[in-house]
């Protein structure tokens, strides 16, 4: 059994909403797991069941070899960082960090030692006497992290902790969280709807859709080998291009071109997926793109346009290429990097 074990966990809210469907998942000690998915897919619900803040309708949760189903959150030895931080407004930073230790009956000197260590690690030593209302967003974020770290819990739970920060701070804190987790080595689950955050933080990530884990794997596995249309569309930015097509006798007829010798015995209506970064320009290629808009990011150019059949399409090329608006590009798919999905079920078929 691994460190955290979820077995067929289901959550049905009293009003009948089925937020999590029979989910099973194992997380190893020290692992950084990310739950990613669109808003309302059940990420928070799953996380809150691990914390004990929501009852489990069906299934089992084991943490460190102990069944957690009926264990009160105060006894689980987990720490959580909330989206709005939930700092204690009437306590100064020191007491915010110390409160959980006090409840454990730890003696004063040890508490002081631990709080000071955590404060140093998070660079909040200068604010220990301040109330949360006198701190900036980034500082509050650190205090919330400190409150989790200081208790040295079995597991850290993060529920979209970065979404209240501005873009620059978000990237900075993302890095710091990753560094900190590697330093402290605590098992962590991080919930986010932002796929970039998910890709950069995760050791492994679980892509969740409608209360079901669609795919579980390392970020690269999921990027390189999406198992469903949903995962393919959700992971990667800009989004993967999708074209309708038909698969028959290992030949794919898409809109305006054909691909032969496809590694699949599937026959019928399919969706072809091509990532914008897996295309390159060459003479007389498969796809012809009429350029409408170019976004220059410096390192890259994002080229948006339409195919012959007026379908929107995106191509990503190095930033040193100049591409004229209104021109026609001829594009090939690099190294057969395309994905074919059954149109009716969304499952990968190649």
């Amino acid at each position: 059994m691994s460190f955290l074990d979820l077995k067929n966990v289901t959550k049905i809210y009293p009003n009948g909403t089925k937020a999590v469907h029979e989910t099973s998942l194992s997380i190893d000690e020290g692992e950084f797991m990310v739950f990613v998915g669109p808003s309302g897919c059940g990420k928070s619900t799953l996380l809150r069941m691990v914390a004990g803040l929501e009852d489990i309708t069906e299934g089992d949760i084991n943490l460190d070899g102990k069944l957690m189903n009926e264990v009160d959150p105060s006894e689980r030895d987990v720490a959580m960082v909330f989206q709005n931080y939930a700092l204690y407004p009437h306590m100064n930073v020191y007491n915010n960090l110390a409160y959980g230790l006090k409840n454990r009956g730890i003696d004063k000197e040890t508490i002081e030692q631990k709080v000071n260590d955590a404060a140093k690690l998070l660079q909040i030593s200068d604010y220990l006497q301040r109330k949360p209302s006198m701190l900036s967003g980034g500082q509050r974020q650190r205090v919330a992290m400190g409150r989790a770290i200081v208790r040295n819990p079995k597991i850290f739970l993060f529920d979209e902790p970065l979404s209240n920060l501005d873009a620059k701070l978000r990237i900075q804190m993302r890095l710091e969280i990753k560094k900190l987790q590697q330093k402290v080595g605590v098992t962590s689950i991080f919930v986010t709807h932002d796929q970039v955050e998910a890709m950069t933080l995760a050791d492994r990530l679980a892509v969740i859709n409608n209360g079901i884990i669609e795919q579980l794997g390392t970020p690269i596995e999921i990027y390189d080998n999406p198992k469903s249309l949903f995962v393919a569309g959700f992971i990667g930015s800009p989004q993967m291009n999708f074209l309708d097509g038909n698969l028959k006798n290992k030949t794919l007829s898409a809109e305006g071109f054909e691909i032969k010798d496809i590694n699949s015995d599937f026959e019928g209506e399919v969706t072809l997926g091509i990532r914008p970064e897996h295309l390159s320009q060459s003479e007389n290629a498969l796809i012809s793109l009429k350029v409408e808009l170019v976004e220059q990011l410096g390192s890259d150019n994002l080229v948006y346009g339409q195919l012959k059949n007026k379908k929107d399409f995106c191509y990503r090329c190095p930033g040193n290429q100049t591409i004229e608006k209104g021109s026609n590009l001829s594009l090939n798919i690099e190294n057969n990097k395309y994905y074919i999905f059954d149109k009716s079920t969304g499952k990968r078929v190649n």
Binding site: A51, G52, L53, D72, P73, S74, E75, R76, V78, A79, M80, F82, N84, A86, Y88, P89, H90, Y99, G100, N103, R104, R147, R151
Partner: protein, 273 residues
């Protein structure tokens, strides 16, 4: 220029208002420092006389009542016990009632709350005889307990605390739970400090409410030993200057409480947290 005129105009209105409220009080105070014969001959006075100590000392220590058993000093003591008791008891019970209503999984908590709330529509006067007979059965007539307890359940204070608790974000409770706090610790370590200013405001309201009680103490006490100041206003006999002096003194305790706690009071009423 127009701003100056409008602002001085509104100041003028406020000043007139203050005068209307203060002048009668001042006249009673000024008159209470004269001798009775002076007042009887010349009417109410605007300026201070020289019988202040004489009048006030006599009122404080005079054995009054039908049986000559009670002094004004004792009445102040009784009123203080009663008002403080009502204030503390009603705030404590309301805090706990609101806590139970908001944080425990009680079936029909909202309905229960509204039932508590509509008791506001049932004034003490309406239930005064049943309440009295309960106190009589329990042998609590002529006791501080009997004076305090039956009027110490406050639906208004419960309403205030309930509404306040409802604005406290759920994450705070969840976060405290994960930090190892049980429900009792959350109450003591979070809700009480967070509602501190509101508690002070409610203490003042309920103190004044308890201090101003007339009908209930009148009914539940037969011994003069339990007379309160407000009862004394009606019962005390004596000359006109002594009554004035007593009236003046009766205003002191509520004013004192407000002055002492006003910093918290104003914060509590006009600004959350």
């Amino acid at each position: 220029m127009t701003r100056f005129i409008t602002s001085s105009f509104s100041h003028l209105i406020l000043l007139i208002g203050i005068l209307i409220m203060v002048v009668p009080v001042w006249m009673i105070f000024a008159s209470s420092t004269h001798t009775s014969s002076m007042i009887n001959m010349n009417g109410l006075q605007m300026f201070l006389g020289d019988s202040f100590y004489e009048n006030y000392l006599r009122v404080l220590l005079y054995q009054g009542g039908f049986f000559k058993e009670i002094t004004a000093l004792k009445m102040f003591f009784n009123s203080f016990i009663m008002a403080t008791g009502v204030a503390i008891l009603s705030v404590v019970t309301s805090l706990m009632a609101a806590y139970a209503l908001v944080y425990y999984r009680i079936k029909h908590a909202t309905l229960l709350f509204w039932i508590i709330f509509i008791t506001i529509l049932v004034p003490l006067e309406l239930r005064i005889f049943p309440t009295y007979s309960v106190m009589a059965e329990l042998n609590l007539v002529n006791s501080y307990f009997g004076l305090i307890v039956p009027i110490s359940a406050s639906a208004i204070a419960t309403l205030f605390f309930r509404q306040f608790y409802k604005t406290v974000p759920d994450e705070l409770l969840e976060s405290a739970k994960l930090d190892g706090a049980n429900t009792w610790r959350f109450f003591i370590d979070f809700l009480i400090p967070l509602s501190k200013t509101m508690i002070v405001a409610m203490l003042i309201f309920m103190f004044v409410f308890g201090y101003n009680q007339y009908l209930w103490p009148l009914l539940v006490t037969t011994s003069e030993q339990y007379w309160t100041v407000v009862m004394g206003l009606k019962m005390m006999s004596g000359s006109i200057v002594h009554r004035f002096a007593f009236v003046m003194m009766s205003m002191v305790p509520p004013i004192l409480i407000i002055i002492l706690l006003q910093k918290h009071f104003i914060k509590g009423v006009f600004q959350d947290k």
